[in-house]
Symmetry: C2
Subunit: 335 residues, 2 copies
């Protein structure tokens, strides 16, 4: 088997405690002993057993990242890799590892979250989907297990979270259209289960009101953050005889679906209908036409999320914290 602390202890003629303390850099070990042991560890190619260490410590250097959405699709959303990079970059600096799990439903999410927390395998959790009602959040709160949610949760004062200012995003996009003379602006949201939809919608309405444009409920439709939905939603809208001259898609995939439909039907973007999305991805630029979108800065969202989590795990504060990551409207040819 692998070489253990005991093997080192024997070879060095000391007790295992001494070796352990050497590893922990305990000042009670003399320089001479320490060096002798370190040398032996090197020679014998010793690597500490994290599992045993975790058991003794009752803590690990692993955090769990839980992605809720269709198992096969969740990772594929352009948002995911970027936020994961953000998490990973800070985790890496702090020598944390990342355990990821994708789940299909809120029920499964709760199961996974409970397992992560109770099994002792992770020391903290980042939740990547925030429904308005989220049983996992309640569960974690009640267990007092460190966690951060990405996306504003319901009980925003009692949990750590990071998000953009989604009201602002909705507002900015709408205003952008209004300023360019568009008035029939459709709003394609994701499911109203998510705060992100509600918040962006709020911003949308606010902008319309400020500019004295009536809010037309029939211009507001909801679906999911997948590409097919964008296609279906705009098709349905136009099928009902409702013809917007601008479309705000709450997600880049939604926007792609919309444009695909419009292209197929021979409608010109932005001449016939202007389209803007949220979640800037590198590819937006190559799009036909290049897509105006809001860069939500997913990398920072991830990085911030980990920072908050780290602080929570280290019990650096007793109250809850949040971070609002600035988003930026990037105007391209689609509007």
């Amino acid at each position: 088997m692998s070489v253990t602390i005991n093997d080192i202890a024997k070879a060095a003629n000391v007790s295992p405690s001494t070796v352990s303390r050497t590893i922990a850099n305990n000042p009670r070990i003399s320089k001479k002993t320490r060096e002798r042991i370190l040398k032996l560890m090197e020679e014998m190619n010793y690597h500490p057993n994290m599992i045993a260490r975790s058991l003794a410590n009752k803590s690990t250097k692993i955090i769990g990242v839980v992605v809720t959405g269709s198992t096969e699709k969740a990772f594929q959303h352009p948002f995911f890799p970027e936020i994961l990079s953000g998490i990973a970059s800070i985790a890496y600096k702090n020598k944390y590892k990342i355990l990821i799990s994708s789940v299909n439903s809120a029920t499964e999410e709760k199961k996974v979250v409970t397992e992560f927390a109770k099994s002792g395998i992770t020391s903290g959790i980042i939740l990547l989907a925030s429904r308005v009602k989220n049983p996992s959040v309640d569960e974690l709160k009640q267990m007092k297990f460190p966690f951060v949610v990405v996306g504003r949760p319901e009980s925003e004062r009692e949990v750590n979270w990071v998000d953009n200012d989604n009201v602002c995003i909705g507002y900015d996009l709408t205003k952008h259209f209004i300023e360019r003379g568009y008035k029939e602006i459709a709003f394609l949201g994701a499911s109203p289960e998510f705060n992100v939809t509600l918040d962006r919608l709020e911003g949308y309405k606010k902008a319309l009101q400020e500019h004295n444009i009536p809010i037309r409920d029939e211009l507001i439709v909801n679906g999911k953050f997948v590409e097919d939905t964008g296609y279906a939603l705009i098709q349905e809208l136009i099928g009902r005889g409702i013809m917007p001259n601008a479309v705000i898609a709450c997600d880049v995939l939604l926007a792609f679906g919309v444009i695909r439909y419009l292209n197929e039907k021979g409608m010109k973007v932005p001449d016939d209908i202007a389209v803007a999305g949220v979640n800037n991805v590198p590819l937006d630029e190559y799009f036909n036409p290049p897509l105006t979108s809001v860069d939500v800065n997913a990398f920072s969202l991830g990085a911030k999320a980990f920072e908050l989590l780290l602080a929570d795990m280290n019990k650096e504060y007793t109250s809850f914290d949040r971070a609002i990551v600035p988003a930026k409207l990037i105007v391209r040819k689609s509007t």
Copy 2:
């Protein structure tokens, strides 16, 4: 703290062993006792401590996925989420968790791989970058630690691996161009450190030879799998006065870079230069123009990789195995 096996044992008036055996579904426990204990576990909200269990078992239900590439960019390649989904979907079915780590260099990779293996935290590893020379592979082989590499490794007979038939991919793409009358076909590869470049190049040459088209070395250039490189490579090529009428890009990002350059310079794709990429992504379709590319079926690559790993961990075979995942040329308007 959390409720343990001992708490259950006390409550049920049995020994911890009995509880442990109940969990393990050991047939030596009577039905009556089993049911009493299961009920208590439910009531007392017991969750097994994975760490303790792993320590006793000397194995975990966690596999490590190591991505080599720039830490901040590695996850962002469209290839990654898809392959990760593939891994995750099979892992999920087998109740495995996934620990991911991105590293910047072969040296770091080896460090992480060693840690994953020796620390006991993972029971198997999937390597997501296969250089021709890969010290991690040697390390893992020598430790006899279960692992699978995605991409054909150097010592292909002594490790488990999955890949496409890259010679075939190179061949098909080249043939596709030749059949459409293109003869000045440039080949943009990634670094020759990777077998994938070498194999596709081999296929490229083979196709040319079969059709009696001379191989012109100046049409063959290498870079990295990032978007900027595509731009730079084609710029350099054309700058040197070499004007291909078709370009094979070994990666979709490379292809995007090429097209960006061509668009900027006012060249028409495919009229002036035809472009094809590898690694079909959903967005290829929306591209301007829609990009001909080879779908490498990354999801299957991931799924197969996990299946092989699982078999290895379970010692289901003693020899090494491999899987070749079929790739498919998807012709769109860019060629």
